[in-house]
């Protein structure tokens, strides 16, 4: 087994990647993909392996520079003969090629990459980018080409990593492409009008039954691919039951309470919890409801990927305030749902009544709950997660 050096990914794949396997990283346009390939190559070399990068998208000096931004020294690896380029980019824009192999005609790609696979026996090859390759290759030849490389890789024990952007190709092409690889990792986006988060998920692995949780990640320069523990915000007007809600969805929670008024304890700093719901992990932040803490809401909202807006269903006078908070999360492009709490209290409004009263459009889900009795809490969680991950 070889390590990919992508956090969590090795665990999901049962420890790593067997020698000679092929992997496809398939990204939705806009999701970072190159970093995965580069990180794997860097990891292999640091484990005393060898590797190459085939590029048809950027000239080698640009890639070397990109590596340095991640804090990885590709230049030295190349000098020491541990890494090399198959340069399929430079000569197509008239730049001086740089690499052990240089491609001047698209027809040469197959043989050159095949040689490279042999040169790094037991190491890794990064194919950047498969999408561009498709465009320059006869459609009937692309699959045999990939199969040929994968066969060569399997013979020589080389791991091949393909980077692929899923532009609007015909679905059957994508389908048949994906069947060529031992392992497919899809890189998806979490969107609310704009991309607010990125996640990877193993969709198949021939050697193990992989865990198929979606792991949120971000890419750091320097640093590379890092796992991102998302923050989920719990907000709403004063006395809607936010602290109880944080407690009920968290494994453990801490609340910074103070007896603000003699009778009603209220959160003056925040509630913090940690959620693990069906493999989905997140940090939970509950904010105080009073307006004087709005600055804190602003700060937390900037980092959150989703929000629960809690309201006291029996207190319509607080709805205007709740609406204000919804708008705040909208302006930060955070998916949110309304948790209509205290459904057990006399005079509590139903979700439909609340929707009408607050003039909310149909897109915002409203989930009725009685948090203190743990009624509706799981539904609320599932609703938000569905909104986040589709």
């Amino acid at each position: 087994m070889k390590k990919t050096h992508i956090p969590k990914l090795d665990d999901f794949l049962g420890g790593g990647v067997p020698e000679g396997s092929s992997m496809l990283f398939s990204a939705v346009p806009g999701v970072e993909c190159e970093a995965f390939g580069y990180q794997i190559l860097n990891g292999f070399i640091e484990d005393d392996g060898k590797g190459f990068i085939f590029t048809n998208v950027a000239e080698p000096p640009n890639i070397t520079y990109e590596f340095s931004r991640y804090g990885w020294d590709l230049e030295t690896h190349i000098e020491e003969g541990k890494a090399f380029f198959v340069d399929g980019a430079s000569s197509f824009i008239g730049m001086p090629p740089e690499g052990k192999y240089v491609i001047n005609n698209h027809e040469d790609v197959y043989e050159m990459v095949k040689k490279a696979i042999n040169d790094v026996k037991g190491g890794v090859g990064i194919i950047n980018n498969l999408s561009t390759l498709i465009d320059y290759t006869d459609p009937t030849e692309i699959i045999p080409m990939i199969k040929g490389w994968n066969e060569e890789a399997s013979k020589t024990g080389t791991v091949l990593v393909y980077l692929f952007t899923e532009w609007d190709y015909k679905p059957d092409l994508v389908e048949s492409l994906k069947e060529c690889f031992n392992c497919v990792v899809s890189l998806n986006s979490i969107e609310e009008r704009v991309i607010i988060g990125q996640g990877f998920m193993v969709t198949s692995a021939s050697w193990t039954k992989p865990l198929t949780n979606m792991v949120l990640f971000f890419v750091m320069q320097p640093g590379g691919v890092k796992i991102y523990i998302p923050k989920i915000l719990v907000t709403g007007p004063y006395n809607a039951g936010k602290s109880s809600f944080v407690k009920s969805i968290s494994e453990k929670s801490v609340s910074v309470d103070r007896m603000a008024l003699e009778k009603f304890p209220t959160t003056i700093a925040m509630d913090i919890g940690h959620l693990d719901h069906g493999g989905f992990v997140a940090d939970i932040f509950g904010t105080p409801g009073q307006e004087r803490f709005d600055l804190m809401l602003d700060i937390l909202a900037k980092e959150a990927v989703g929000a629960f807006i809690l309201i006291d269903s029996s207190a319509p006078q607080t709805f205007a305030r709740a609406k204000e908070m919804i708008n705040k999360t909208h302006s930060e492009a955070i998916p949110n749902i309304i948790v209509a709490n205290k459904q057990d209290v006399k005079g509590a409004l139903s979700p439909e009544q609340i929707r009408e009263k607050m003039n909310l459009n149909e897109q915002i889900p409203i989930v009725p709950t009685v948090v203190t009795d743990n009624i509706g809490v799981n539904q609320a969680l599932d609703t938000l997660l569905k909104l986040l991950y589709g």
């Binding site: 000569s91 197509f92 824009i93 008239g94 730049m95």
Partner: protein
């Protein structure tokens, strides 16, 4: 106000002078000179180059359709002798023709050979020459005469990219480049691409010099003749 440099063509400055435009060729802009064969595009480029040299603006001249000897002979024909500037190091030439004719010139401080069918080698030479020229004077000129030959010997989109890179590099370094091109010698798409990449477009049809576009100026046309001293606007 857009700063202009002299074109070297008698009458051009007057033709392009308006209340809001000083006349000449906008400094640090890119120009395409095109038209049917034998209408004086090369002569235009010699005059442009020569005018810079006599004003102490060095020039990088890339000749892809005439070898060095021919270039020198033709400039002499129009009383635009460049010998002095080749000697004093202010005129730099990349010659991609002599190689094809198997009459490579002896490389000197100012003259290098390159290969017409090797755009990469050409770009490497261009890159190092621009550095040289820029260090002499950031106000410099450059000529690519002509795009037509490059297009004839190579895949045309590759040449479009190379020309884009060439123009970008000269511009980035502060220079003012012109390229020449024979109308209809390549695909229409290529011609449109070339036009879209430059700031100014000048067409010469044998009688008229038409400024089809020039930034800060617009359009204009004027008759011209070719005299023993080169092109002259009437």
């Amino acid at each position: 106000m857009i700063v202009c440099i002299e074109s070297g063509i008698p009458g051009f400055e007057e033709m392009t002078h308006t209340d809001s435009f000083m006349g000449g060729i906008p400094e640090n802009s890119t120009t395409l000179v095109y038209g049917p064969p034998k209408t004086g595009k090369s002569i235009f480029s010699y005059q442009f180059c020569y005018n810079g040299l006599i004003n102490e603006e060095p020039c990088l001249y890339i000749t892809t359709n005439k070898g060095l000897k021919m270039f020198i002979a033709e400039t002499n024909d129009y009383n635009l002798s460049v010998d002095e500037y080749l000697m004093n190091g202010s005129l730099h030439i990349i010659d991609t023709v002599s190689d094809i004719l198997e009459k490579k010139v002896e490389p000197t401080e100012t003259v290098v050979n390159s290969e017409i069918n090797n755009p990469t080698d050409l770009m490497v030479n261009i890159g190092s020459k621009i550095n040289l020229v820029r260090n002499q004077n950031p106000r410099f000129r450059s000529v690519l005469n002509s795009a037509t030959t490059l297009l004839a010997y190579n895949e045309s989109m590759l040449i479009v990219r190379v020309i884009k890179a060439y123009l970008m590099r000269v511009k980035e370094a502060g220079g003012t480049p012109i390229i020449t091109y024979t109308e209809d010698s390549a695909d229409k798409i290529v011609e449109t691409m070339l036009k879209s990449m430059v700031d100014n477009i000048i067409r010469m049809d044998g009688n008229e010099l038409q400024i089809e576009a020039m930034k800060g100026f617009g359009k204009s046309e004027n008759n011209y003749i070719i005299t023993e001293n080169g092109i002259k606007l009437e």
